[in-house]
């Protein structure tokens, strides 16, 4: 029996996660090239495609800008492509996005951008729908797994009809929800067709060309609703005079509420969220005496409807949503919030348990080499004669940001990809006279860490840069980095060595150290902190979880109960989640979770922690 949903045949009904459905959609759309940069909640699309086989190209790129430009390059040659990223990734790729709107595409180009209301795993609650009006590109928004698949197919189709890139905008609850999907037919991937020289279209150096292309873009955008009509992106249900305009996951919450209440309500669902399908809206909103807009994050649709109130014949109709404070601007919606918004019911207070339940922020994993690195950095600061509170540690995006939580409480900032080094530069250049440390992971360094390192070296800014090299993009589920010699699909690659890049930039000193050798690394940090220039320490040890999955763990440790005094030195130093305090006040190691790194044992004054194997 075929278990891979990408290989199943047409008509079969399967339960798929939204991202798996998008991957299936890519095959049904004849996509030949899928490329992205990992970012929750978008990563599983490429991952799923990578398990499909070699018929299409499905690989990670070094960052989102490069990924999008690869997609554009393929599409102007007539190939169909899919580019995936999380919301903040599109900020990095926004430069090519805006230019791609001017040149247009020949083969379909669909850009998945996954936002994260909540937020559940993202630095900001950005609403990427604004990229529609900013880049002047159409945005389509699916509301469940079936639509995630179908809109991928329709998006590629629309892209070719309009000759414009299309943004497929999702949110976590669509990407990471499982729902039933009826599969369609796969198409033969559409690869390179032809590419003819056409500077007016593809060269943005000619200002009069740009002006003309801008006019072309506006005229294409205007055609969007008409050209997409037979794709049935929007839908209308019910015929009450109380009307709800919604999109994305909001639609599911509305359906849930309305089907429970069984009332006569008109539901206008937009799949095309930009440009607004004004004809459809005008038709659907006729006769409404109240319009409720249900959407997550910004009042994007609400503002649209309010600004076209005259054209939509809504001048005397109450439009309710976020602007008047009925729905929250921050966080996720929920079926409950939507239900009380539509029906004006207040939910009763929820019973509270008497017990205080301690919070559980995600810790660094047991045996994580980053724990050692940050302990070495903190120890090194003291060794060099500084106070911890005097030496800021700039952090970056990746698992290692979890070092912010006690007991390590290490990083001072975590901002945007690559910002650790650049922000440290700014601090120094503005007159900060103590040393600064920038810590950045290997894939973040490849992603956007190289230009700031060039800047630091070039401007002679004194700092210590610690590159935390666990040789994998760990936080998003262990994807390949440019340092691999073979990707997930088995594609042979030329490995890029971080040390070669760092040396090539011309840093003053480079050392490579195994962070499990804690004392050695602490000494190196102390020495380099006192040296002038840009000094780089590569702390290299594989991600513990990834290594364990591939090779098994090196061992495990256990606590001799009679020797343990309950001083908690082990827990206070490491914060390793495999350690906990039992009801008699002594420490125990959850042996199934222990990686066997031995770090906690170093801190035990009574040698109660010993190898268990």
């Amino acid at each position: 029996m075929e278990l891979n949903p990408l290989k199943m045949s047409k008509g079969i009904r399967v339960a798929l996660m939204g991202n798996e459905a998008i991957a299936r959609g890519a095959l049904e759309a004849g996509v030949a090239l899928a490329v992205g940069y990992p970012g929750t909640p978008s990563s599983e699309v490429i991952e799923t495609l990578q398990r499909y086989g070699s018929e299409i190209y499905a690989e990670w790129a070094v960052n989102e800008k490069v990924a999008l430009e690869i997609g554009i390059g393929a599409s102007i040659g007539g190939a169909r492509s899919l580019v995936t990223m999380k919301g903040p990734g599109l900020n990095i790729a926004s430069d090519p996005l805006l230019s791609a709107a001017y040149s247009g595409v020949d083969g379909g180009l669909l850009i998945l951008v996954a936002d994260d209301p909540g937020p559940i795993t993202t630095q900001t609650e950005q609403d990427s729908r604004w990229y529609g009006p900013l880049a002047k590109l159409p945005i389509i928004s699916p509301s469940n797994s079936q639509e995630a698949k179908d809109f991928t197919v329709k998006g590629i189709e629309l892209s070719e009809r309009l000759q414009l890139p299309i943004i497929l905008r999702t949110t976590t609850r669509v990407n990471h929800s499982i729902g039933e999907v009826i599969l369609g037919d796969r198409k033969i991937p559409k690869r390179y067709q032809k590419f003819e020289k056409n500077p007016e279209r593809f060269v943005r150096a000619g200002m009069s060309w740009n002006f003309e292309r801008h006019k072309w873009l506006d005229s294409r955008l205007k055609e969007t609703e008409k050209i997409s009509e037979d794709l049935f992106l929007n839908s209308l249900e019910g015929d009450g005079r109380k009307c709800i305009v919604t999109e994305g996951i909001g639609y599911q919450y509305v359906k849930e509420s309305v089907s429970m209440e069984n009332r006569d309500i008109r539901i206008i669902k937009l799949g095309l969220v930009f440009p607004p399908p004004l004809n459809f809206l005008a038709r659907s909103l006729e006769g409404c005496n109240e319009v409720l807009v249900v959407e997550e994050l910004d009042p994007f649709l609400e503002l649209t409807i309010r600004s076209y109130a005259k054209e939509l014949n809504l001048l005397n109709v109450k439009i309710k949503g976020k602007i008047d404070g009925f729905l929250p601007l921050e966080g996720e919606l929920s079926p409950e919030i939507v239900r009380s918004f539509i029906f004006g019911k207040k939910e009763e207070d929820v019973m509270k348990t008497e017990l205080h339940v301690p919070s559980r922020p995600p810790p660094l994993c047991p045996g994580c080499p980053h724990r050692n690195s940050y302990l070495a950095i903190l120890t090194g600061i003291s060794k060099a004669g500084f106070k911890r509170k005097d030496v800021p540690i700039f952090g970056d995006i990746g698992c290692y940001a979890l070092s912010v939580y006690p007991p390590l409480s290490a990083i001072w900032t975590e901002h945007s990809m690559g910002a650790s080094i650049s922000m440290a530069i700014g601090m120094k250049l503005s007159g900060f006279d103590k040393p600064v440390i920038a810590t950045i992971g290997d894939s973040t360094f490849f992603h956007t860490g190289i230009p700031p390192l060039i800047e630091a070296v070039n401007k002679r800014v004194d700092m210590l840069v610690v590159i935390l090299d666990n040789s994998v993009i760990a936080m998003t589920g262990h994807q390949a980095t440019p340092s691999w010699s073979e990707t997930e699909t088995g594609r042979k690659t030329k490995e890029i060595k971080i040390e070669d890049v760092v040396r090539g930039i011309g840093v003053d000193e480079l050392r490579i150290i195994d962070p499990y050798n804690l004392d050695e690394m602490a000494s190196a940090v102390a020495e380099l902190l006192k040296k002038k220039g840009v000094n780089v320490l590569i702390a290299r040890a594989p991600c513990a979880i990834y290594e364990q999955r591939r090779k098994g763990r090196p061992g495990y440790y256990t606590v001799k109960e009679d020797l343990c005094t309950g001083c908690l030195a082990c827990i206070r130093a490491t914060g390793c989640p495999a350690l906990y305090v039992t009801e008699n006040g002594k420490v125990r190691i959850i042996e199934d979770d222990c990686y066997g790194c031995g770090l906690c044992a170093k801190y035990c004054p009574t040698d109660a922690i010993v190898r268990g194997d």
């Binding site: 469940n144 906990y580 305090v581 009801e583 008699n584």
Partner: protein, 207 residues
């Protein structure tokens, strides 16, 4: 309980809560039910709090992948502290199946010098809060029966199938095949599943 069944799965990242929700989703698909799940994947996956929503529609479509407090018909817990955290989701007369495993978060261990922890209070809270008898699963028993504590999720699944009567055994086996992949994992999960079923049956015959 209507024709829509809400299940909340509460676990610590890495325990197998996601596979459990996936197995129920796949089994629902095979059984011809409407199904929607809502997960939080990503950073919180490893050793953080993980909450998975599973919604099943019997002859009726489910729309929202998540539900609200006091709407869970079943609360399935792989860890006691997380179970207590999510008690508010349980509806009156809802059923709870909980593994007795405790994995105290670091924040709690760091506080432990001030007052010694008391983990049995979580069991007491669960008991006093739930209106129905709770089915507790002893992870050591799972380890003995299945060879690994990783199969606790399958034991919970067994108990759940036993009290809900939603799935046939062969459907569960098929979903294990699809979700777990490796023969070894399927084998230990199958044993744990049987254990969970018999635990729940004994409970019911005693009651």
């Amino acid at each position: 309980m209507g024709n829509r069944i809400n299940i909340l799965i509460s676990s610590v990242g890495g325990q197998g809560g996601l596979s459990l929700s996936r197995m129920i989703a796949v089994a629902s698909g095979i059984s011809g039910y409407s199904v929607a799940t809502g997960e939080t994947l990503g950073m919180a996956q490893r050793f953080g709090s993980v909450k998975s929503f599973v919604r099943i529609g019997l002859g009726e479509k489910v729309y929202s992948p998540v539900f609200s407090l006091r709407e869970a018909d079943y609360l399935l817990c792989l860890e006691l502290i997380e179970c207590t955290r999510n008690l508010g989701y349980l509806r009156e007369n809802g059923r709870t199946i909980a593994s007795l495993e405790v994995k105290p978060p670091i924040s709690m261990s760091l506080e432990a010098s001030k007052s010694k922890p008391n983990y049995s209070q979580y069991i007491e809270t669960l008991k006093s809060f739930a209106s129905n008898e709770i089915i507790f699963i002893d992870p050591d028993e799972v380890r003995r029966a299945a060879g690994t504590i990783k199969a606790v999720n399958a034991a919970i699944l067994g108990a759940f199938v036993s009290i809900s009567n939603l799935f046939e055994d062969k459907v569960i086996l098929e979903s294990m095949r699809e979700v777990l992949g490796s023969e070894k994992a399927i084998e230990s999960s199958r044993k744990a599943y049987e254990l969970g079923k018999s635990l729940a049956k004994n409970k019911q015959s005693l009651a």
